[in-house]
Symmetry: C2
Subunit: 203 residues, 2 copies
């Protein structure tokens, strides 16, 4: 899951570890922040597998300071640290590789992994990288799972064995799943109207 998230962010542009954490919340809507204890090992892992690569510390806003040699890079690193706005501790910036892009598409579309709320939201947030057909499949798969879950929690909400608090949890879970279902149905109807528009244009 984290792999897809990181690769997805890197599809857009290069990032360093610390930034990935905030982007995960801001762009991919991750509610419970992923800890640094998973991000840095994940980045190391992805690099080991050749899916991402460390970029030589990029030139700061002010262009053309260093252009390549090892000594030059070291100098630019020092420059980077003290130069306007971009200081802080030296960043390790990562770029996605071609193999990384392939793996990203494969992971994102993989139908064998069952989505929980978190991975599903992640996938939707990255849905522009899926084909329309794969998007619909993703949404309909989740829809089925939620319908099953809805039946479960509704039963719990009516279970007289449970005390008022437990029943309240169940009943709120039911409302929450209902809201999720409405969302998915909205997304599905958008997908369908988009494909209609497409069909009409082709006509």
């Amino acid at each position: 899951m984290l792999d897809v998230a990181i690769l997805g962010l890197l599809m857009d542009r290069d990032h360093h570890g610390y930034e990935i954490r905030s982007q995960l919340r801001e762009r991919l809507g991750d509610s419970e922040s992923v800890s640094f204890g998973s991000i840095y090992p994940a980045l190391a892992r992805l690099e080991r597998h050749g899916l991402v690569e460390a970029v030589a510390p990029a030139a700061p806003r002010s262009p053309a300071i260093s252009t390549g040699s090892l000594a030059g890079e070291r100098a630019s690193l020092r420059t980077l640290r003290t130069s306007a706005g971009l200081g802080r501790r030296s960043r390790k910036v990562y770029r996605i590789t071609e193999r990384g892009r392939q793996e990203f598409h494969a992971l994102l579309a993989d139908p064998t992994t069952v989505d929980d709320g978190r991975t599903f939201s992640l996938r939707v947030a990255l849905a522009r990288y899926l084909t329309p057909a794969l998007r619909v499949r993703l949404l309909e798969r989740r829809r089925q799972d939620l319908l099953e879950r809805l039946a479960e929690v509704r039963q719990g909400a009516d279970n007289p064995d449970l005390d008022a608090y437990a029943r309240s949890v169940m009943s709120h879970a039911a409302h929450s799943v209902e809201l999720d279902l409405e969302w998915i149905d909205d997304l599905l109807s958008i997908e369908r109207s988009d494909s209609e528009t497409f069909a009409q244009e082709a006509k």
Copy 2:
């Protein structure tokens, strides 16, 4: 988190590992099932710490078959397996200890741990074991967290840098948090009206 959940279930009655998993979903509303790979180690850990203890395989529905000796227990185990309804592989039933009860209350009320959606729901499902004051504190703490989260996701929903899918995720997250807040406000108003009733009765 899993510790509180297991202890909470054992407060009610004895359970074996397999059963705990289903009860977690049915009684405590846990959406993403906890795997056996965490339940059995957790049970072993709790036993090591003296918070739970393994019970001699309980007598089946039909009462009074064995009453104590080692030989008797072994016999009852065999009986258990082949007797009506309760067969299957031999179960390992756990009971909560006195120290376990103390620890349960401490963990449930612990204000230092920050609740995510899962642990919060768990705590509410077990809220009957909290005092009214601790219940209100739990609810208000979560309310604050959600208000902050709401501001974040609303910003994301309006962020023109994001594509329609990512914005949709953010906007749905906002609606979801709003629903959570309504739930919490309901629970809070119930707590308050309960304490009023209580005050009036005392009068």
